[in-house]
């Protein structure tokens, strides 16, 4: 009986075909697993970068923090490079579910850094421009990529418009947090700037409405809440500021800082 099975397994074309399928399925599954793991790392490091960036409102040496964040994001981009490596020659949508979470979080972090630096929304193209990787030669170099470095090979990762939108939707939550911190730190310009910027993003999302992917519509509610909080903060600044002439307002806030300084040595 044993040889029956053995012979069946070896001779049957059905069994032979299924052995091929087995390999194909396992390969795909393993790749999916690897992508999930890299994506988790991308998520964690992006979140840490965002946390770091929030310190920018409270410290004087903002540039140091921005540089540190830039370094962290470089590391994240290296991870995304690994994703791109895994996806080389694949249909990326086949594995999209495995890495979309990480990519959205990266967009959130990168766009947050960009906003703090430039007070503007990073575009999808700008995001993607940073996701070009050099790959030192290995195996066959498929096609003559216009290499900057001989023997190297260019590898790109393209963030999809949906992932970009979902990342930007989450960004608004961080902007709201930043606005509230700014108020707490006596910064009166940032909140108004942020409210304008958030309103633009909000109007943008309502323009897109339900024509975007389903997950975007789901995030709209949170976005609206964030906008509400920022508008309330600006309102509060205005209402309180109304009690004294405008030109005195800045003084009041800056005096706070000077007022505090002597005490700091004590604490």
């Amino acid at each position: 009986a044993q040889d029956r099975e053995a012979s069946a397994q070896s001779s049957s074309p059905v069994i032979a075909a299924f052995k091929v399928f087995q390999q194909e399925l396992d390969t795909k599954h393993d790749k999916h697993e690897r992508l999930v793991k890299i994506s988790r790392d991308v998520t964690i490091e992006s979140k840490r970068t965002i946390f770091l960036l929030h310190r920018v409102t409270s410290v004087p040496n903002a540039e140091d923090i921005l540089n540190e964040a830039e370094l962290k994001l470089d590391a994240v981009r290296q991870k995304i490079g690994q994703i791109a490596e895994e996806l080389r020659g694949e249909d990326i949508f086949q594995f999209h579910r495995a890495f979309t979470g990480g990519i959205q979080e990266y967009v959130e972090a990168a766009s947050f850094l960009h906003y703090i630096r430039h007070r503007s929304l990073i575009s999808l193209e700008e995001i993607n421009a940073r996701l070009v990787f050099m790959k030192s030669e290995k195996e066959d170099s498929e096609g003559p990529a216009d290499t900057l470095q001989p023997g190297g090979q260019v590898l790109t990762f393209q963030v999809s418009p949906s992932d970009y939108l979902l990342g930007v939707a989450d960004l608004t939550g961080e902007l709201m947090r930043m606005c509230i911190s700014s108020v707490g730190n006596g910064d009166i310009d940032t909140p108004f700037q942020l409210s304008q910027f958030l309103r633009q993003i909000h109007d943008g999302f309502s323009y897109i409405g339900n024509t975007g992917p389903y997950e975007v519509s789901k995030k709209l509610h949170v976005l609206r809440q964030s906008l509400g909080k920022v508008e309330d903060a600006c309102y509060a600044l205005r209402v309180r500021g109304s009690e004294i002439p405008k030109h005195m307002l800045a003084d009041v806030f800056s005096s706070r800082t000077t007022h505090m300084e002597p005490e700091e040595g004590v604490v």
Binding site: R199, D203, S206, V239, S242
Partner: protein, 228 residues
């Protein structure tokens, strides 16, 4: 009639129905598109610079309502009118949005509640069910409640923009609305739920008025001569 003939016959009915729904969906998508454009136009009133532009923005919105009327006119041709409620679900959502936009435009222009008849006219539809494509009471009320929520946001942003009289006017308006709604014996679940939200809008606006009062900003507004 054989079973096959019978089912072929029935397939005729089903296809006709599906075609109607497909047609309706397409027109409704266009309505949604225009509604979103009107919304984008009107959202700008929340911007600091937006108040001066209210007249021009309203004018622009009014233009877009022409498109709405044309599209709804098209929608009417897509199904037999006595089957309004058969297909109601398809346009109910966008219709409520459009009511909101229409009542909001009129509020921005006149600071008054526009009645159902007037909204129907803006949308190019009927009030009386028997006359054709009409504006259901529930849909009208739902749209009005969306506007109330938008007004609470407007009250906040008015102050940010330095307009201290508008919140008081909004407060009076909203209180009147609230009394009106209290007359209704609402059973209908989604409408009832929306109405429960009105309480928060009322409270929010009252707090804005409070903030202005305690700083004497309401008086200032009065003495400096209201713009209205």
């Amino acid at each position: 009639m054989s079973v096959t003939e019978m089912f072929s016959h029935i397939q005729g009915f089903l296809s006709a129905d599906q075609d109607i729904r497909e047609d309706i969906r397409k027109v409704v998508q266009m309505l949604e598109q225009t509604a979103r454009e009107i919304l984008t136009v009107l959202q700008s009133v929340h911007q600091p610079s937006g108040f001066k532009e209210i007249p021009s923005k309203c004018a622009r919105a009014r233009e877009l309502f022409c498109t709405v009327r044309t599209t709804i006119a098209d929608l009417k041709t897509k199904f037999p009118m006595e089957q309004y409620y058969r297909f109601h679900e398809h346009w109910r959502f966008v219709l409520q949005r459009l009511v909101f936009l229409a009542t909001f435009v009129v509020y921005l222009e006149t600071e008054a509640l526009v009645i159902r008849e007037e909204v129907a006219k803006i949308l190019g539809i009927e009030v009386v069910r028997e006359k054709g494509f009409h504006l259901d009471v529930e849909d009208y009320l739902a749209g009005v409640l969306i506007m109330a929520s938008e007004l609470s946001r407007l009250a906040v942003n008015s102050v940010t923009s330095g307009d201290y009289t508008r919140p008081l006017r909004i407060s009076n308006f909203i209180n009147e609305l609230d009394s009106g709604f209290r007359l209704l014996n609402l059973k209908n679940d989604p409408l009832r739920k929306r109405y429960d939200g009105l309480k928060y809008d009322v409270k929010k606006i009252e707090e804005v008025v409070y903030d202005l009062s305690i700083r004497g900003l309401t008086k200032e507004a009065e003495t400096s001569g209201g713009d209205k």
